[in-house]
Assembly symmetry: C2
Homo-oligomer: 222 residues x 2
């Protein structure tokens, strides 16, 4: 089996991506970032999901993004909004997908892997520049110039299988592949046991996804 | 003054880049990464250099690259070579420049800066894919698609002013700009006081640079 690096946050989207990568026949090396996020319950969820969806291993890289601030998810002085806001939300972590993919690329280089998977989704998060297909394509092109594998003629690929799916379609695909969404945590301010607030943007999008998919919402709310 | 983010390792090259950026009129925000490198004396050097070359501020982001291994600089079980080796050396940190530029980009986004500076050099390190001009250009293109500034029509730039200079030319330029190289630490295995080993690749390149520039080597050897 070819090794792949899967960015796994512990949320709904990345759990689905892991199931898709495994179904496609990759040996899945799951990578989570501990970037000082408030919702460390996500990391516990990532460990559970990695185990239950058959990842070969799961590693966590700690990174002190709180030192540069700029996001409600890394800076405790910025409140997580509990009602919809206009524009790019304060929960946006600056250059997050660039940073996550850069670290996935580093691990891929150590593993000799040429396949990175990320759960970006252009439909739900159209306001985030780094969720767009053109960003993913540009990162892939850069990655092929950045690494030994690329220079030696191998083709590094950044897979974004959720790119054009709605939240409901993502959930439907995950259910087909055996994802247990009760194990995942999407909430931006989940408590230590992983109970969701039910009010933040992530909770709203997730609940709406289950509703649109016509499925019962297994989320554990606090 | 326009803000710029300067990647500052504490070594000779990045100190020169900081002096060049300041000379060009930028308000310089210096960024160092603590990626579990053995030579933490470099971080102390970075703090000294930032202060003495007039950086507006200096921040250090901790990042646990030791968790993925793959380099003598982040994995204590791999020895730093003390004689020249063929191919990409074991001191190469996987995707290091991609990771460093990604974090510089994140901070730039917080600061509202559109200028990143990095001390890559295609001459001395021609074996490193991520030191080549085509890598820098590809990162810049990706960065413009990754961020709000880029989407809104601003042009993010990645400056690599040492790109085509020899080590001797870098040193000459730095001396003109007032860099005190005695404060910098390049050695891959410097001791806690920053004394250099004189034997690793970094020490050899540096010593040869001073020799070729016809200048006394101010490095403090152990």
């Amino acid at each position: 089996m070819k090794p792949a690096v899967i960015l796994l946050s512990g949320g709904l989207d990345s759990a689905t991506v892991l199931a898709i990568a495994r179904e496609a026949g990759y040996a899945c090396h799951a990578l989570s970032l501990d970037y000082g996020q408030r919702h460390t319950a996500e990391l516990a969820a990532a460990a559970r999901v990695a185990k239950n969806l058959g990842a070969v291993e799961h590693r966590v890289i700690r990174i002190g993004l709180g030192d540069i601030g700029g996001s409600a998810l890394t800076d405790a002085s910025i409140a997580v909004p509990e009602s919809p806001t206009a524009g790019i939300p304060v929960t946006y972590v600056p250059a997050r997908n660039t940073v996550m993919l850069a670290l996935a690329l580093a691990w891929a280089e150590v593993l000799g892997s040429r396949d990175l998977f990320i759960g970006v989704n252009a439909v739900d998060y159209s306001g985030y520049p780094d969720c767009r297909p053109e960003f993913i394509a540009a990162f892939e092109q850069m990655a092929n110039l950045a690494t030994r594998a690329g220079v030696e003629g191998a083709r590094l690929r950044v897979h974004a299988p959720l790119q054009h799916l709605s939240k409901a379609q993502i959930i439907q695909r995950g259910i087909e592949l055996g994802v247990d969404y009760a194990q995942t945590v999407s909430c931006y301010q989940a408590d230590a046991e992983g109970l969701a607030c039910g009010r933040c943007d992530a909770c709203r999008l997730r609940r709406e996804g289950f509703r649109a998919a016509g499925l019962a919402d297994p989320t554990r709310y606090g």
